[in-house]
Symmetry: C3
């Protein structure tokens, strides 16, 4: 893996791989729900798993992480194969939603940290964190012909924005990277978890047709 990543501590690279695997699983499951083939499962797993990080790497001018390191593609294909051969009931529960929430927080922090380490200014770096966490899911939903996570009022993009902004903001104050990463990822996971548990949603734009 990239040298720059180690600047953000020894834990986040593993969270990165974990995030790729969790997002790959949500992609493969989206394909199973449409009765797709194993090849399509693998394609969706790969695109959802690495999509957000790919856009981030292209935008910040980094070599695309999974093209350099075959581990990521292997993990995505392994996840797709696992979902294909295991009983369907293993994948119906709430576990994946909660793992996705962990991946969301970790991935938003990881994306922002990688952007900062490539010299991106704070505001675009925070946006890179949001893209890293959310773009894979947006591509998955667009290809599957489903309303994207963007268009749902539940707190999803917002939780990623909280984690990425908090990380960048606390780093600007001079706090150490590792501790800040834990705090910011936990905050993003906490907000997303609260949204799942209490079904929190942001207020929608007031100007709906039946509004004054």
């Amino acid at each position: 893996m990239d040298q720059a990543l180690w600047q953000i501590g020894p834990v986040l690279p593993w969270l990165d791989l974990f995030g790729v695997a969790v997002f790959a699983a949500t992609g493969a499951l989206a394909a199973t729900q449409r009765g797709q083939t194993l090849v399509t499962l693998a394609f969706f797993a790969l695109i959802t798993g690495v999509g957000g990080g790919t856009v981030r790497d292209l935008l910040i001018g980094a070599p695309v992480f999974w093209v350099e390191d075959r581990l990521y593609a292997l993990v995505c294909l392994g996840v797709a194969l696992t979902i294909w051969v295991t009983p369907q009931r293993w994948w119906n529960g709430a576990a994946l939603v909660w793992l996705d929430a962990v991946g969301l927080g970790a991935y938003a922090v990881f994306g922002a940290a990688k952007a900062l380490s490539f010299g991106v200014p704070p505001l675009p770096a925070a946006v890179m964190g949001v893209f890293t966490a959310c773009v894979g899911g947006i591509i998955r939903d667009t290809l599957a012909g489903e309303p994207s996570i963007l268009m749902r009022p539940e707190l999803y993009v917002t939780a990623a924005a909280l984690a990425a902004t908090l990380y960048v903001g606390l780093r600007l104050l001079g706090l150490p990277s590792f501790e800040v990463a834990i705090i910011a990822a936990a905050a993003g996971f906490g907000l997303r978890g609260a949204a799942i548990y209490w079904k929190l949603a942001l207020p929608a734009y007031r100007g709906l047709p039946n509004d004054p």
Copy 2:
């Protein structure tokens, strides 16, 4: 901003920022029409505002403009916030359609000029102008689940193609950049304006099912 941009005169960088702001506004408004949250407004404003220029910069191998210079992301977020807090009736009129027409012409010229200044040959450079002006709107419509501007018969992509081709063609004849930019942007705006005012459309393909 990029040194190469100054080769095309002192006015276009400001038109660039103006184009980003106008396109960001159309993105944020697309989100309000679906009753979305402030975070989604900001996401749509950013993607629509910088989307076309991002694709151009990736294709020509330039550093992505808004990742280097935080001003653009700030403007997009400011536009989204402004639309969120101001009365809805401010944004219902025809003003935005006309501002979008100005942005279309200016942005097509700006994209073609930036591509030429990076050594791209004339034909791909003209295509870069069209992409710069149109891709943000295409991404906005795709994410919003709406038929894209590509699929509407009204003159939109064509106006961008006129502005970009005219700029590249007149530059090939050796005319000075600044004057050519004004002429080409005005021609693109004029064609788009005529299409808005007289509802001009291009002829559609003859081979529809009920045709001979």
Copy 3:
């Protein structure tokens, strides 16, 4: 053209141009079926023709092929113009489906070979072959608002995966590039052709709603 491409023999660069032309034709025809204008035909021809190779080049860090060499954009615009002015019945038959099958095999091999020649490891290189062959069609279908080739059970992505994997695998065994390219492209075309002729499809995921 790129020096690295010549490592894979003198034939493939022409297959590359052939693949771009065939995919451009499928893009332009998708636009005619929706009664679009000439400008939209040209846009669809270009995006479908060069889309897969563009994503490949961005991911492997190569200069984008059609931005450097104007020949490709010229071919795409020429194809769109040809389809616009010629009788519609020329384009109704099965010929294009079979040409597309040839393009699919050739393009998957070409994409994998280019990725290998840029130092990409074998697994991501095979994925690059699949992307090169399939992403143009996916973008075309997404922009046209149609279920993408990804979501159809027929063997399409699988044929590309066979060609790309076979090429990469046989190269790993030390076999010469030119012969391997012919074998792998023929295998991909053969599988796709068999799927067209006998309407072969992969088994879908077992877990459909009416399954146990």
